[in-house]
């Protein structure tokens, strides 16, 4: 189902062709990073800390170096020193520890040997002497007055008055508007609630992997899977103290990222090992390493107070948000502050958000970072207000929803957005009125993500036969090759299957930022359109030459150069006819587009979750799920639906099952897909995706990013549905069977209804 505003009719945009990289991916021929092997390749293994917090007294690599097959051993001493204040200090000391390890699994050395088994044996023979330090494992412990301080240099940024002593609070973010006390004084209903959530992992199925080959000329080539190979290049260069241009990064197919592959872990180690060994070095993480040492999304403690008038209008909001980003400075608090009240008109608000460091793995971006958690708090409280005031939850949201011109939290006015349209689409869907069975409940929740633009480049080359190659710098995580080809087809008038979309390496295409912030189809799509429009001008010029007329008398219509002048009629020229004569009209036909994209349209989504709670076990089963989302314009609707489906599934897993569990020493207890349980097919129903299309005025086809917003509403939608089914409000994640059962059996309404 699609809900749309009137828009131009397109020939290719909005259709559902088979994706261009699909054949390789269904036949097993697609080359992911771990599938690549180089001549003479050896294997690298990382040595990791068994302690959550310790000073490294010494590392003795002599025994490891003497073992069979070992070609190189490296430690932090093999990399340039970095000092606090360095732009990427956290990333540098995370990739390889220097004087301290900050979490269990922290990399501190690496070994390369002829076989993986030899490298593993040698890694185990690296002797590390630690001075074990007390581990700080919770937000409360990190903020305690006598807490051990992880980073001696960490003075809270943004503190007012300025911090005088180092602490575990890395930064404070504050936003406010209006006057809080007078806002609450106008309220007929005031509620204040607290929430806790645990770190969760992105759970991409492909572990991190790379191959690095460093030549005698001091240049290196890296093959790896990432969400942005230009950023792999610059981050790796930073760690090594090299110029960026000594490194070429060739993107492999990427087996899922969800934000977790926007940073690096292995590449500088592989390059350093390769340089030392004089051989290509392949490194592949195990799943255990992926869990212990990469990307969890932050855990939180959130406290929110909301005030509403009896007619449902929100008048005041006060938010105190604490995010822990693991052992380093993070942006969870900032992003939480930017999203918590963003979707609603709240004239008086204050937000204070803290980022706190603890001895767990450094958090990485995860799909709409921070927003699912602020939505968990905000959207369950709105549900409470709707229940208390006897207002339909969708009507309450429509009443308070931001629309075009309303100020965002940071004060900027929204451009045209589709929040109300998403609410109406769900309200008008038959699922919203579908009957519920015994022990079943229905929950509504909304979500928001701002999306970003950044830099993108694209090159369009016309081939001799009239087909086109479109080269961009955005890795294809979920069908973006197809969307690039669709936009190019629309612009050039060439059949979408006569366009070959290619992901170019760092030396084959202009600089392109990482695929993050749902930006690929938006921003890289804009670069493709720009390149194609330049190409059309070029094609008109070549055709004019062939016709012997002025370029101003040649239009581009349906993939043909058409003469519009007043002279005798001339036959239109196709792309193939023009490229066939290219040698005589000016040479090869190529055009580029490079831009800094502005105006990424915010994405809104509204979800309705129907679920059934087993009153004897607390097991929750989602039985029906409906999700609307404003895509602006869906370039390839199947992959827009796919993004919505994926976000919903991840959000349901986050709501019901997923969490990092540590023992009292900070050792992760569930680092496998057996014990860290992500949803499987039998856990989920079909997901009814409703694509709402309110075009983004800043994009030539109206695109808004769609990758992230879909994960924002599911947690509160599930929580609200559990309340609907049981009368219990659960404000701690995950809402696992034991917690749901506890809530049901304690008083039929834990934490107050």
């Amino acid at each position: 189902m699609t809900v749309t505003e009137p828009k131009p009719s397109y020939k290719y945009v909005g259709t559902r062709p088979v994706r261009h990289d699909g054949l390789e991916k269904v036949t097993g021929r697609a080359r992911f990073a771990a599938d690549l092997n180089m001549s003479g390749q050896i294997h690298g293994i990382v040595v990791r800390s068994p302690h959550a917090h310790a000073r490294i007294v010494s590392i003795d690599t002599s025994e490891a170096e003497a073992m069979p097959g070992v070609k190189a051993v490296i430690t932090g001493d093999d990399f340039p020193a970095v000092e606090p204040g360095h732009r990427q200090y956290d990333m540098c000391i995370n990739v390889i520890a220097r004087d301290k390890v900050f979490y269990e699994g922290h990399a501190l050395a690496a070994v390369a040997a002829s076989t993986r088994d030899q490298a593993q044996a040698a890694a185990a023979a690296v002797k590390v002497t630690y001075e074990v330090l007390p581990a700080v494992l919770t937000i409360e412990a990190a903020m305690a007055p006598d807490a051990p301080v992880l980073h001696a240099h960490m003075m809270t940024a943004g503190a007012d008055p300025p911090a005088e002593q180092p602490s575990n609070i890395s930064n404070v973010t504050r936003f406010s508007s209006g006057e809080l006390d007078s806002g609450f004084a106008q309220a007929d209903l005031v509620i204040e609630r607290e929430f806790t959530t645990q770190p969760v992992h992105q759970g991409y199925i492909e572990p991190h992997a790379c191959v690095a080959d460093t030549g005698q000329d001091g240049h290196t080539t890296i093959w790896c899977s990432s969400q942005g190979h230009f950023s792999v290049r610059s981050s790796t260069a930073t760690l090594l103290g090299w110029e960026n241009t000594r490194i070429r990064v060739i993107p492999a197919e990427i087996g899922g990222g969800f934000g977790g592959k926007t940073t690096i872990y292995l590449e500088p180690l592989a390059v350093a090992l390769s340089a030392k060994a004089g051989r290509p070095v392949k490194m592949v993480m195990t799943r255990d390493e992926v869990f212990r040492a990469t990307g969890p999304a932050p855990g939180t403690k959130l406290r929110i107070k909301l005030g509403a008038k009896s007619d449902g209008s929100l008048v005041a909001g006060d938010a105190y948000l604490i995010y822990t980003n693991g052992a380093y400075t993070g942006s969870g608090g900032l992003l939480g502050a930017m999203t918590v009240f963003e979707s609603y008109k709240i004239p008086n608000f204050e937000i204070e958000a803290l980022d706190v460091v603890i001895n767990t793995a450094r958090s990485a971006a995860y799909r709409a970072p921070a927003a699912p958690l602020t939505a968990f708090a905000m959207e369950t409280m709105l549900d409470e207000i709707a229940t208390d005031l006897g207002i339909d939850p969708i009507d309450l949201r429509i009443q308070n929803a931001v629309t075009e011109g309303d100020p965002s939290t940071m004060g900027f006015p929204f451009a045209r957005i589709g929040f109300v349209e998403c609410l109406e689409a769900v309200r008008d869907h038959p699922n919203y009125k579908a009957p519920l069975g015994p022990n079943q409940g229905r929950g509504v929740a909304a979500g928001y993500w701002f999306n970003i633009g950044e830099s993108s480049s694209a090159t369009v080359n016309l081939n001799e036969d009239g087909t086109a190659t479109v080269v961009t710098g955005s890795p294809d995580i979920g069908g973006s090759r197809a969307s690039m080809a669709l936009m190019a087809a629309e612009e050039l008038g060439i059949d979408v299957h006569d366009i070959r979309p290619v992901v170019g390496d760092t030396e084959a295409v202009g600089f392109t930022d990482t695929t993050e912030g749902s930006r690929a189809t938006f921003a890289t799509g804009m670069a493709v359109v720009e390149a194609c429009r330049r190409m059309v001008v070029e094609l008109r010029g070549r055709a004019a030459k062939m016709m012997g007329v002025d370029i101003d008398d040649v239009d581009w219509v349906d993939g043909q150069a058409v003469y519009t002048g007043s002279d005798d009629e001339k036959a239109p020229l196709s792309v193939a006819e023009i490229t066939a004569k290219a040698k005589r009209t000016g040479g090869p036909l190529t055009a580029t587009g490079s831009l800094e994209a502005h105006g990424a349209g915010p994405g809104f989504a509204v979800h309705v979750c129907d679920l059934e709670v087993d009153p004897e076990t607390g097991v929750v089963r989602v039985v029906r799920y409906t999700a609307s989302q404003d895509a602006g314009t869906a370039i390839h609707p199947s992959y827009v639906e796919g993004q919505i489906h994926g976000g919903v599934a991840q959000g349901i897993g986050w709501a019901l099952n997923e969490e990092y569990i540590y023992d009292s020493d900070g050792v992760m207890e569930n680092p496998s897909f057996l014990d860290y349980r992500v949803p499987v097919a039998s856990d989920l129903p079909m997901i009814d995706a409703i694509i709402v299309e309110v075009p983004n005025p800043a994009h030539p086809y109206g695109v808004r990013g769609v990758g992230e917003t879909g994960i924002v509403p599911p947690i509160p939608a599930v929580a609200n549905a559990i309340h609907s089914a049981t009368g219990c409000r659960i404000r701690d994640l995950p809402m696992s069977p034991v917690r749901v059962l506890g809530a049901i059996t304690s008083n039929g309404g834990s934490n107050g209804a």
Partner: protein
Amino acid sequence: MSRVHVTCTINGDPAEFLCDGGQTLLDALRDEVGLTGAKEGCGTGDCGACSVVMDGRLLCSCLVLAPEAEGTTISTVEGMASGDDLHPLQQCFLEGAALQCGVCTPGFLVAARALLDRNPDPDETEIRYGLAGNLCRCTGYDKIVRAVQAAATEITAINES
């Protein structure tokens, strides 16, 4: 340690390879035979990305020792298409957009074929439970389940014609 010589049939062709006694079938397929379609997502039999069929039985090749392949018949994703003709499951996955990143896709295709060999007309629940050993983090399974339903219908039609 001397290496073990294994003779078997892979995707209909006779095959032989040398492996270490402790090497997994997955590593042998990828590193010794050169078939990298099966992926290692976990190494503990939890994600199904390494699914292959050995002597008619669907299994995680990361949990099988390579020497156990001696004398067996193995099929992998690379053997699903006949020449240029895709298996209906492959075709339906493409047409139904049942893949996003694609790294779990080989495992799903192998598992889905094993499911349809067992049960040519599964309902949605049977498909969901039949594929519950395969993790996909991108699709939410919706389009995968639909693609398997479509392929089942197509295979039935082919068999009846």
